[in-house]
Amino acid sequence: MFDLDIPFFPEQASTIAVLTDVFTFGVIGLGLIIGIIVVILMISFVVRYNHDTTADRTNPVDEHTTLELTWSFIPLVLVLSIFVWSANIYYNLYNPPSNAINMYVIGKQWMWKIQHPDGQREVNTLHMPVNQPIKLTMTSEDVIHSFYVPAFRIKQDVLPGRFTVMWFEATQTGEHLLLCAEFCGTEHSFMVGKVIVMEPDEYEKWLREGQTALGANAAAPAGQTISGDALFTQKGCVTCHKIDGTQGLGPNLKAVGTQVELDTGDKVDYNEEYMRESMINPQAKIAKGFSNIMPTYQGQLSEEEIILLIEYVKLLNGGK
């Protein structure tokens, strides 16, 4: 009835997994040392000072400020050291290396839709190359989900209405569980997929063959029906946002740098989140020198279309 290989420890399949494990078991170990000392003391007191023993009970103490300060100060130093260690790992988790490949993830009740940089799409599987940082730009079409790969020790909530970002670098080829960790309704426990880590050349091959050649991806929707540039014309973006170098009513999307100066004088990063916000909530951040005339595209663009447009605009800027 039971599998006799009792699992004690999850596979370590990413660069971060080792760091997380060493950290976690380091903290547990430290805690256990203190905890076990306390328990041993407690048991020895219970035995030694049991009411029917004749142990020495002279000069009992019920106050000792130095002792109190010592056992307040030592744990404080310990937890502050733990904090520095933890913060260091956590900060890196949210700062993807510049050579990371960007992929998009859309969560919806109850599936994961993934889009590769070249436009290939798949559902509930994510093919990726080994030893290559991958950055995921994620959003949800409905409720909050959470993208969780236990073998990588990473997790990030996926929110409707905005992008969240995570990154990881796999160190082992093979299949790893992909789970939704945030309760998202009836079929929450079936919002499960696989991350398939491949050798780089195999991944290239997989990309070229496209999902139709791979039986495992037959469930994926048919290849993209409309391209980003067609969408750019069809949705009327091109009316104001000229791409031929002339100046329109809106900013020229071809000549955007890495930062955008706003009419408030602030500067914001010109990234996926800003582009997304500018389509859904264009009044939020107005580029300097332009007036607040763009209508919202909320409800008129699906999350997939938004991603196509972002990728198209990035292409105009040399793929950045």
């Binding site: 950290f23 009411h51 029917d52 009992p60 733990i82 900060y91 409720v143 929110l159 209405g161 929450h188």
Partner: protein, 577 residues
């Protein structure tokens, strides 16, 4: 220092049998009206006790369904929807109807006036009202469950709760709202009582630490509960009127809800555990026959936990999409709040040093509390660490951790309180043998249930999954946990039988069956009189002055044959100061 002094306080008046007082609060009226319209804090405590015990077992029943479903990897016992409703009901009932009111509404109500030497709480009618509001809330919860339940999880995360969940979300929110008001009433009452109604000589630093625990808890209740009440109302507003507050499709922000929710719901953990820590201080002091070590440090650590505890809520949101820097600040403050908890554990341990220790039932529960709280605390520090939490958030590791705190600590402390003050409340003793047996079974069953969940959580099992057929190798841990939960259920069920039995056949307890210090033991009968004390108690001692004999009549039963031979019984009169 006289080594005999501790022994003298164990006055054993074996010669005169304990007698029930002629007049006490239980026989002050037998008709339904005398109970349902009572303003006596002790009777209201009993009313609470009955309802709360009932809902503890209701919540336990839902837990049993969860554990049964998870024995097999496939979801085969319940459907996905029913499972989601079951775990929501388990969480909501246990938190809103059991844990939050558990110690404050029963033992807080019963004991605070007795401990500080007052006739009643400051606002007796408000106290009765709080029980009725609680009862109303519980009726609404039962209605929700009977109608088919709700499947948002007890956390009500938007936009799932506002735009997607079916179920009776609004009705559940109204129920939680009422439960919140009931605890606000209790909190106001306790603060006013502790400030204004202490007996002459009962200075702040003579208060039992249990009262300090309740004071800190009441502050959290009245400052935090209104916030969650408003957050829940906003959920209802968005759900019913489609006004965009949290759902981005309507222009809202789902993270905002999480901030509002955890601003209360993290301090709520301290509402559950601070009174429990107070209980442990009383029990450790009494059964070590020693003044609790570091009184002021323990008292101030309760206040520190209550205040700093308001600044740590974001540690529930490290992977939610909140800013990395916010995560770091919340993590830092969370580590800081771990220190006062550690201080308490060290102080309890130090209290036993050179004490005179009696391993009676309440003490077994108290020691079990410390052991389980240490594990809850260590795993708490792990989860407060962002690096580990990214992996462990929303897994069974978290489930195991918070059960160590809320069941291992809060419920164990509650049971310690039940067994410590049962003779005071009912005037009867229960079977010491079954009491110890239940305490040990509970400790073993609890660890068998929740230790495996740490492992399966680290393996990656998410919370709120009813099917894990994608990883059937996890089954052994779930099966072990379910097996443990049956042992735990026996441990929780046993007291129902021997305590009920004791009501009728139990030995008469006498005024002070433990040889304990404190006004409730030294100045009030068991059960106490309707207005608690015959005359206004005058306090001229520190709390836990176990180096002086207990006043009043003591019928201490813990003395072994060897001691009763060597120490002549001292009559109660000679030990009176």
């Amino acid at each position: 220092m006289n080594t005999n002094i501790t022994s003298v306080s164990q006055t054993h008046s074996g010669t005169e049998a304990a007698k029930m007082p002629e007049q006490h609060y239980l026989n002050a009226g037998y008709d339904l009206k005398s109970w349902l319209l009572t303003t006596d804090h002790k009777r209201i405590a009993v009313l609470y006790f009955i309802l709360i015990t009932f809902f503890f077992f209701v919540g336990g029943l839902f837990a049993a369904l969860i554990r049964l479903e998870l024995v097999t990897p496939k979801g085969d016992l319940l459907t996905a929807d029913v499972y989601n409703r079951v775990f929501t009901a388990h969480g909501a009932v246990m938190i809103f109807l059991f844990l939050i009111p558990s110690i404050p509404a029963t033992f807080g109500n019963f004991l605070i006036p007795l401990m500080i030497g007052a006739r009643d709480l400051a606002f007796p009618r408000l106290n009765l009202l709080s029980w009725y509001v609680y009862a109303l809330s519980s009726i609404l919860f039962v209605t929700v469950v009977l109608l088919g339940g709700v499947d948002t999880g007890w956390t009500f995360y938007a936009p799932l709760s506002t735009s997607f969940a079916n179920g009776y979300v609004v009705l559940t929110i109204v129920a939680a709202f009422f439960a919140g008001f009931s605890s606000i009433f209790t909190g106001i009452n306790f603060i006013a009582t502790i400030h204004k109604m202490r007996a002459p000589g009962m200075t702040w630093f003579r208060l039992p630490l249990y009262v300090w625990g309740h004071y800190a808890t009441s502050l959290i209740i009245i400052l935090g509960t209104p916030v969650v009440a408003i957050a829940l109302i906003l959920i209802a507003v968005e759900r019913v009127f489609r006004i965009g507050i949290f759902d981005p499709a309507l222009g809202g922000d789902p993270i905002l809800f999480q901030h509002l929710f955890w601003f209360y719901s993290h301090p709520a953990v301290y509402i559950m555990v601070l009174p429990g820590m107070g209980v442990i201080s009383e029990v450790i002091g009494c059964f070590s026959r020693k003044r609790v070590f570091g009184y002021k440090f323990i008292a101030f650590s309760s206040m520190a936990i209550a205040l700093v505890g308001f600044l740590v809520w974001g540690h529930h949101m490290y992977v939610s999409g909140q800013s990395v820097y916010a995560g770091m600040v919340f993590s830092l403050i969370t580590y800081v709040v771990a220190i006062p908890s550690a201080i308490k554990v060290f102080n309890w341990t130090a209290t036993m040093y050179k004490g005179t220790i009696y391993l009676q039932t309440p003490m077994i529960y108290a020691l079990s509390f410390i052991g389980l709280f240490i594990i809850g605390g260590i795993t708490g520090v792990v989860l407060a660490s962002m690096a580990a939490d990214v992996h462990l958030h929303d897994t069974y590791f978290v489930v195991a951790h918070f059960h160590y705190v809320m069941v291992g600590s809060a419920v164990t402390a509650y049971l310690a309180a039940v067994h410590f003050w049962w003779p005071k409340i009912t005037g009867r003793m229960y079977s010491e043998f079954f009491g110890k047996l239940a305490a040990i079974i509970t400790f073993i069953g609890f660890n068998l249930t929740f230790l495996p969940q740490f492992v399966v959580g680290y393996l990656g099992m998410p919370r709120r999954y009813y099917d894990y057929s994608f990883a059937p190798e996890w089954q052994i841990w779930h099966a072990a946990s379910t097996l443990g939960s049956t042992v735990l259920a026996v441990g929780f069920a046993l007291p129902v039988f021997y305590l009920t039995y004791s009501l009728i056949y139990g030995e008469i307890a006498g005024q002070n069956p433990w040889g304990a210090k404190g006004l409730e033991w030294e100045e009030a009968s068991s059960p106490p009189a309707k207005f608690n004390f015959d005359k206004m108690p005058i306090v001229n001692q520190e709390a836990y002055a176990y180096d002086t004999p207990a006043r009043g009549q003591t019928h201490f039963r813990g003395v072994t044959s060897r001691e009763s031979l060597s120490i002549p019984p001292t009559s109660a009169e000679t030990s009176h100061i």
